[in-house]
């Protein structure tokens, strides 16, 4: 062996040894997969806030890594595999569409923990799921919408026909209907989580139809920007994030997803060895769903009612899905006084009575 190659080999060996030592310092690596860009101002932004909170809570002991704009589907599997190979100890996959990819990759890496947001499949012991009871926030929004609409037409920009979204639509409609029996709900399916131009077009289509209160279940602030063009004729809600920059405009309240406590809890559990597979579903009570400040556009009494509903949900004295509730076809779903079991909600694939239209398949 020539001297030069010998030296090179030695250097390589040394490098490997040090590299190995660095790995052995057992710094926990928490990785996050995002469906949109961090700058979306909504869903992904909030997840990233949670990731940053993990970093802040544990400082040097954790390392976070993330990837933005990961398409749902085959690409997600590649990204996940790459993350698993790059030394992630726990991987949070933050969109419903990553469900199958998460489970498939989890099967190959039994030592790595996978946490899938808003899904229901836990096919392997290292897969946990977590979600937030967004429908609790939708109930509060529905109440405000029913009280605030002048045209009696309210709108909902929906993303994909999955239980989480349908749950939100039903909750929104039920609570608007409760305070305003004349209310009609128009639903537009955008078939995207993030496409500002399309979200704005959807909002415009609703406004052209006479809708004056818009709730959205997509990730960007575009629907609020579209509503802002009407100079106060149309109001809306912040979705996933507070979207406070529209506070002096159309945004009258918001649902804020606060993932930080959950992320800190799970990464902490992994570090101190108490980690166990879980199926977490917290709502307003657990602090995972927050209701953003209700602005002055909303009359004081409506604001007080909305806040009272929020507090009742938090205290556990009120469930947004309390019978009697019929399905869209008129068949009974919940009897008088019965609250919806979680199983029904997580598999929800029907509209409640009074909503017009069909759920696309």
């Amino acid at each position: 062996m020539k001297r030069r190659t010998l030296l090179a080999t030695a250097a390589l060996g040394l490098g490997l040894a040090f590299g190995g030592a660095a790995m052995a310092q057992d710094k926990t690596k928490a990785c996050f997969v995002y469906v949109g860009p961090i700058g979306d101002g909504g869903w992904t932004y909030q997840h990233h806030q949670g990731a940053l909170a993990v970093q802040e809570a544990f400082g040097d002991k954790v390392e976070i890594a993330f990837q933005e704009n990961v398409p749902e589907g085959a690409d997600a599997e590649r990204v996940l595999t790459q993350m698993a190979l790059s030394g992630c100890n726990i991987i949070f996959t933050t969109s419903f569409g990553y469900m199958d990819a998460t489970n498939a990759v989890a099967a190959k890496f039994p030592d790595i923990k996978f946490e899938h947001a808003t899904g229901y499949k836990r096919e392997h012991p290292n897969v946990s799921t977590y979600n937030a009871r967004f429908y609790e926030g939708r109930a509060v929004q529905g109440h405000i919408a029913g009280k605030m609409t002048k045209s009696n037409k309210i709108g909902y920009i929906a993303s994909f026909p999955i239980p989480e979204v349908i749950m939100g639509i039903n909750s929104y409609y039920l609570h608007a209907k409760k305070v305003n029996p004349a209310v009609e709900l128009s639903i537009v399916w955008a078939f995207t989580w993030f496409d500002p131009a399309k979200e704005a077009d959807a909002a415009k289509a609703l406004i052209d139809q006479g809708v004056d209160v818009i709730a959205s279940h997509t990730d960007s602030t575009a629907p609020l920007a579209e509503a802002a063009k009407t100079n106060g004729a149309v109001i809306g809600f912040g979705q996933a994030s507070d979207m406070a920059e529209y506070k002096d405009g159309p945004r009258v309240s918001s649902i804020i997803d606060n993932w930080a406590p959950y992320y800190i809890k799970r990464v902490g559990a992994l570090m101190d060895g108490t980690y166990a597979q879980a199926d977490a579903w917290e709502g307003i009570a657990g602090g995972e769903v927050e209701i953003g400040e209700i602005t002055a556009l909303v009359p004081a009494e409506v604001k007080a009612e909305a806040e009272a509903m929020r507090d009742a949900i938090a205290a556990g004295t009120y469930h947004p899905f309390t019978g009697p509730i019929n399905k869209q076809d008129g068949s009974p779903w919940l009897a008088e006084g019965v609250t919806a079991p979680d199983g029904d909600l997580l598999g929800m694939n029907f509209y409640v009575e009074g909503i017009v239209g069909e759920i696309p398949q």
Binding site: D40, V188, A197, D201, D208
Partner: protein, 309 residues
Amino acid sequence: MFGGIDPALLIAALMVNSVPIMLAATGELVVEKAGVLNLGVEGMMIMGAICGFVTAVVTGNPYLGFVGGALGAMALSAVFGVLTQVLQTNQVATGLALTLFGLGLSSLIGQSYVGIKPPATGDVALGPLADIPFLGVAVFSHDWMVYASIALVAGVWWALKYSRMGLVLRAVGESHEAAHALGYKVTRIRFIAVLFGGALAGLGGAYISLVRVPQWTDGITAGAGWIALAIVVFASWKPWRVLAGAYLFGGISVLQLNLQAAGSAIPVEYLSMAPYLITILVLVIMSSGRGKAALAAPACLGQNFHASR
């Protein structure tokens, strides 16, 4: 009212919706007519979107914003021009890289501009025209870019068909060897065409971030550049068909959202598919037998030229 939809409002929405893809497609049409295939439209559009947004926010003037957007995208297209025309890189690969680069760079520039509202671009006051029933709402109540984009299509059509400049440009796209033998500066003409395409893509992008969505978020163009590329093929490299194609693509996306909002029973999936199905259909018809002549793709499209050959 038609199926619960007000046609005047539908046409109005359609015209606004189509502006970005129409501008970008018109620019790409000129580029391709000169024989250059620039697949970086998406990247140039988003650079236009962020540069226009930043300029408008900093200066407080939406019109300067459009200028800034055009210049920003033009700068990016200049990179493409240098790489493909001077350094002779592969056009397809360079174009794709340009899109990736544009998406990343725009995200970097836009870091501190998320959540800011740009100055409003006002509608053009057309006086009595705006009071005409139906047409007033549908056609005469828009911002100036809507009319400018149509004027641009007309200008490009005229220039390509009737001006000496257009003739030279087409000659370069059809046979760069012959054009070179006649003494035309092939590389220079193509470079200018690429810059023009970049400027128009930038205007289209700026329209998205300044008028249609009025805000900046990462990835705001969301694939509009690819649709613009499809429209050029769909239009078989003819300016007025670009206009028709943009209205068709933009119109169907508006129509399907409006149908949903109006509670129509037509499944949305079919409407969402329609523009792409039509594109495929047009491609099949055009590439079959007699239709082939009408396809009219520039003969030197995508081929590099070097004077020494």
